[in-house]
Assembly symmetry: C2
Homo-oligomer: 194 residues x 2
DNA sequence: CGGTCTCTTGACGGAGTTCAAAGCTAGTGG
DNA sequence: CCACTAGCTTTGAACTCCGTCAAGAGACCG
């Protein structure tokens, strides 16, 4: 169960985890099943857990005044699911996170992970690199959202994350891109002509 | 000259910097003047330096096919200026960073800062917290850009960063929000009526 | 089967863009 | 002290992309 997480950390760190470090991690990250449609986090709650996805798919979204969902993050295997703002600041979250497919995840709390940071340098390194990667991806997405028209955003997304097109339906992708499902449908039709 | 940076780090870290650590930092961060309109980074270059702004204001933006600028980041005193993607991955940047006002900054390279991370735990801690904060801010902005209409994005921005309204002209703010200067002008007119 | 979820299509409306022109402001030099 | 310029903001009119609403067509699953 913890294999993918250990591999993930080792891939990011310069020196591999020792046996005792692996044990620590196994004791700290607790396996949890989240069934399709089940909430991992609901709006208004504090996000207590940081989840590493071993299998499955999750989505993070806000809901506006009119009840419309806006997807801010999609995650599949070897990704993380968490509302960082709520997790770090201990403030109520404005987001919901739920499972789009039946999911197996590894959960840890803020206290436990801070504790691990003190004991496992490789984990600190991994966290830093992960944050950097995350930060970069967000920067790109932000730049795309203010600089590019919908069609280019979609084709960039399709190139960059082809797996996601298989795993999530179109109206979810549309919401992630900040457009409606109808607009995405029309864009795809346009693109076929070329 | 290094005072604000030392203070900044101490504010983020749990234990204050020792005298020798302060010395290390002073030797690693090199002061640099960047005059108004002068480039700190040009599109196509690799971003070699990480800048802490002691005094002044800078902007980071991309330029699209039609020559229009899209502001992705604005920074003033006690903020950082860098294209993280280029800095970390050593890839040519798609952004420009230039000084909007005469600026005094403290510069360091990737090699030097990685080196410092090994010697100053407080700096690692500061970097982690800074990344977290940055990540959170980006998440908010992203969510805003796909969830909220222009007027709400502007009023949120005005509440959150009132200093920026003083320091940057309207057309810069408009670009940062992903709208045209004309639209922002009309939005402000609307808001005055209320 | 019937129900739920998903995708498509059309007609209409609205938020925001584009283009063009004019007004405003602050700094510069005579 | 005034004239001039450059950068910034405002305004109007036409247009465009995208959202909204509504209806229908597949597809999948119990």
């Amino acid at each position: 169960m913890h294999g993918p997480l250990i591999k993930y950390i080792n891939d990011y760190a310069t020196t591999p985890l020792t046996g005792s470090e692996v044990e620590l991690i196994k004791n700290t990250f607790v396996p949890k099943r989240i069934r399709k449609k089940q909430y991992f986090l609901q709006e208004g709650e504090v996000c207590k857990y940081f989840a590493f996805i071993v299998k499955g798919a999750m989505r993070q979204y806000s809901v506006d005044d009119k009840g419309a969902e806006h997807i801010v993050q999609l995650s599949i295997e070897n990704w993380w699911a968490v509302d960082r703002e709520s997790f770090v600041m201990l403030t109520p979250s404005v987001y919901n996170i739920d499972a789009w497919e039946d999911t197996e995840a590894l959960l840890t709390t803020r206290a436990d992970i801070l504790n691990l940071y003190n004991q496992i340098p490789a984990l600190v390194e991994m966290a830093r690199k992960m944050d950097e990667k995350h930060s970069i991806a967000n920067q790109r997405r932000l730049n795309a959202s203010i600089s590019f028209p919908a069609e280019k955003r979609y084709s960039d997304f399709a190139n960059c994350y082809p797996e996601f097109l298989q795993r999530f339906p179109q109206h979810i992708i549309a919401s992630y891109l900040g457009i409606t499902k109808e607009t995405l449908s029309r864009i795809r039709k346009q693109m076929l002509k070329k």
